[in-house]
Symmetry: C2
Subunit: 293 residues, 2 copies
């Protein structure tokens, strides 16, 4: 190859985003899509938690995604992504989304991005990954509420303090996720081969319009079909179920209805963050499939 | 260092964004700041040119910034950034900003980010950099209008066709910028040690409030003091001067006045893109200086 050809080649390759770049872009497109009732979006800040904190959080997570793509352990990559995400003053912006994206990035970077291959990546996690996962809590103020009684996993609110428990119990990160699956929608994705993330990606590929409009529709659709576990933890299961029903009603209404629903959720302090995280996961898969922007 | 210490160390380092990450974040914060009369911002798309195209453009430019940080030539890094930026369907989103950011990223990655060191980086460019600069036009539809009569540089509208002219004339990229400085605000930054970019960074550090609010104020301030060369090229010098005066009037008015000015510019099809690019340059410098987000 001549120098000139090498230059051209590198230019052509630059047109394709790496999985780490697509993960950052998925986080950005997720927060840009609007209206996304109850969450920060292009048209809404939530008090001191502002849109720009999500931009900085997404860009900050990049080295963690790069690490995952290069084959570093899932736990360590995730912890690095969380640490980078946290270098802004808004607090926890995308913790759940990073937990979803880290194994998906590694899956995409090492072969085809299928539910089966994603399962292999999560199945390969170790107790060291579990320890890194608990260490990641030290970087952020993840509001977890009281731990549910029906969960055996160490209490994540204890952060690094839980690391010894995990090691003693010989739990892998996949084990921890399995134990949390009933109360955490992201953990449930780990145990169901990322079922909802792939469902969102299919939806995004099926509908038409600007990607941000598609993502907002995907969000409302998910919110209307599965109770948001972040809402269930912060409020209660009943509230999460009610939000699901109200989202269904909003979907059947017009745009004004959706906006009114969005305003109401903000007023009630209800933030369906898990649903937003899953849309980010779906956006990543759609980007890897080459969806047009 | 034990494995544990190594993990902690890497987590701490991840809190600091690399120059390439800061360049991407600068592009994102620039487009997110609003109101930014005449440009796409958080609250405004311009027809088929949408906010999400700028998000994808910013993330796409990353490998080019990484190349600049690693010491690749400015021209080749810039071309790579432009190629990556172009992997979205909105067209040219951040060409000028990339021309500004590429040498600034290399300056920051190799030592302290000062006007003097930035000048050294640009002074080191060669004819190969100039050729790569012209090749970069092949990736985008940069609307340049008629070439002014008082400019000696090869006509960039000819893209790769201009490469032979540059080589024959033995022009470095710095030479090309010098020849364009009277008609292009970005080229002028190259010849004035990035004077306005550093001025914007000083301003951003001096005022208070959310970074996106500061950036919007910096934009209006720049627009009211220097005629936008993109407007001058697309329309005429007189229009650019009029926009400058109207921006000054808007600054003296209230928020409603600024919004009315923004609406008017969109209606008139006036897009002060160079001023927006310079704000991106200023944001990058401010981020490197550690401004809080």
């Amino acid at each position: 190859m001549t120098d000139d050809e090498a230059t051209r080649q590198s230019s052509t390759n630059a047109r394709v985003r790496t999985p780490a770049q697509n993960a950052v872009l998925a986080l950005l497109l997720e927060v840009a899509s609007t209206p996304k009732p109850g969450n920060v979006d292009r048209e809404r800040d939530l008090g001191d938690l502002r849109f720009e904190h999500f931009l900085a959080g997404a860009v900050g997570a990049l080295p963690g995604f790069d690490a995952a793509a290069q084959g570093d352990s899932i736990g360590q990559s995730f912890e690095q992504a969380v640490a980078g995400m946290s270098s802004q003053s808004g607090g926890n912006t995308q913790f759940g989304a990073l937990l979803l994206l880290t194994p998906l990035v590694q899956t995409a970077a090492t072969g085809s991005l299928t539910p089966e291959r994603a399962r292999e990546v999560t199945a390969n996690t170790t107790t060291a990954d579990a320890a890194a996962f608990y260490r990641a809590f030290e970087h952020v103020d993840v509001r977890l509420g009281e731990p549910p009684e029906d969960i055996d996993a160490p209490d994540a609110r204890r952060g690094e303090g839980a690391v010894d428990d995990v090691s003693a119990a010989d739990l892998t990160l996949a084990d921890v996720m399995t134990q949390s699956a009933t109360v955490d929608g992201i953990a449930r994705e780990w145990t169901t081969d990322f079922e909802r993330s792939f469902e969102v990606a299919d939806f995004l590929g099926r509908v038409s319009g600007p990607i941000s409009t598609r993502a907002a529709a995907a969000y409302l659709r998910q919110l209307s079909t599965v109770p948001d576990t972040h809402v269930a933890r912060r409020h209660c299961k009943k509230t999460a179920s009610q939000v699901m029903v109200r989202a269904q009603e909003a979907r059947e209404g017009d745009r004004a209805h959706v906006r009114a629903f969005a305003d109401a959720l903000v007023e009630e302090g209800i933030n369906p963050g898990t649903t937003a995280d899953i849309v980010a996961g779906g956006l990543f898969i759609a980007l890897e499939r080459g969806i047009d922007i």
